[in-house]
Symmetry: C2
Subunit: 193 residues, 2 copies
DNA sequence: GTCTATAGTAAGATAGAC
DNA sequence: GTCTATCTTACTATAGAC
């Protein structure tokens, strides 16, 4: 897999930035080209259509998700904590692509909803293996989704790499994830799992 | 407050339906007018611009949220359970407006993000009063947000009034909400709150 | 590989008839 | 209060020069 042309990457990045910060509608070919520092014609050399641009993001989401899954699997704190903790992080490669694909899914872009579901399913499986209980895996996923929902919400006050609302509150939420995890283990140990 | 013209309501409903199911971009004046059974000119008599249409939804969200808050306050099961349980419901009046305003917020519509934050803040306060602990109120809100995140996600398989994924799983999640609530009360009682 | 120029289409909004 | 007709603008995409 050779490195793709630099212009292609700049265009994809520009498209993602506009979709994330101003919405899918604002990411016109002209606006994307301008932000990437190329002309409309130059953009269309690399991506034959607007849909091709969106498909490019879908592909990159898959790659970023695979890398994240490997980190999650190797994480010393365990998949649950890793998942909840990183749900609050904005600005990572994975986060960027995830937000963009969510916006594309809202606009019924073909394949976007499926791509999100696939990533989500992989996360769930890792957490399920760790906690050994479907319902607790569901709840932990929901907490992470809820945090993500906040982080991805416009006007959530995220100034840096972390959504403003949860700066300082994340630790308390993580403690409750631990408690749920402990409850699940106790239940499994007592044979009710 | 006299009943507004029937056409106005039909137009607003048509706009919401298209934004929810096909995305904001698909909700053009023409498409909205067609679904409402009026012409573009007819639509523009009631709403002077596309922005006015969106502002109409913001206003209705406020009304629906007020009504929901009253039900939440009066609910015998308590605000926490009420909030989490109703987060899975799709197709209610409040849900419809909430999803639409979320899409508008994603497109940077002025006031949309603020409207969502206001509704969210009211919910949090009621739950905070019930559980008596900031962190547990946060976590319960996150679980509800996570469910909502799923329910609002396109392709979540919602066929009726409930998101498909959580049909049959909601009870197990609600039990864990009870557990978190119990933990918070125990903590408060022991003076560590 | 990137540009300019332009064709073709669709959107938001206005004017005036009924 | 609702319609048709029309204006204007903006967007996607193509063609061909450099």
């Amino acid at each position: 897999m050779a490195r793709p042309p630099a212009a292609r990457e700049k265009i994809l990045a520009a498209y993602c930035e506009i979709v994330s910060s101003e919405g899918e509608r604002a990411a016109t070919l002209e606006a994307t080209a301008a932000r990437a520092g190329v002309s409309k014609g130059g953009l269309l050399y690399h991506f034959k259509s607007k849909d091709a641009l969106a498909d490019g993001v879908l592909e990159r989401l898959g790659q970023a998700a695979e890398a994240d899954l490997a980190r999650m699997r190797a994480s010393p704190e365990g998949p649950s904590r890793y998942f909840v903790r990183t749900s609050v992080e904005t600005g990572t490669e994975l986060d960027t692509f995830f937000v963009v694909v969510m916006r594309l899914a809202a606009g019924q872009h073909p394949g976007a909803a499926e791509a999100l579901a696939a990533v989500h399913g992989s996360w769930w499986q890792l957490i399920r293996e760790e906690v050994g209980d479907d319902a607790v895996a569901d709840t932990i996923m929901l907490i992470g989704d809820g945090i993500y929902h906040h982080a991805a919400m416009p006007g959530s006050g995220s100034t840096g790499s972390t959504a403003g609302y949860f700066r300082g509150r994340l630790d308390a939420v993580l403690e409750q994830v631990d408690e749920l995890r402990a409850l699940a283990r106790a239940r499994t140990a007592s044979g009710a799992g």
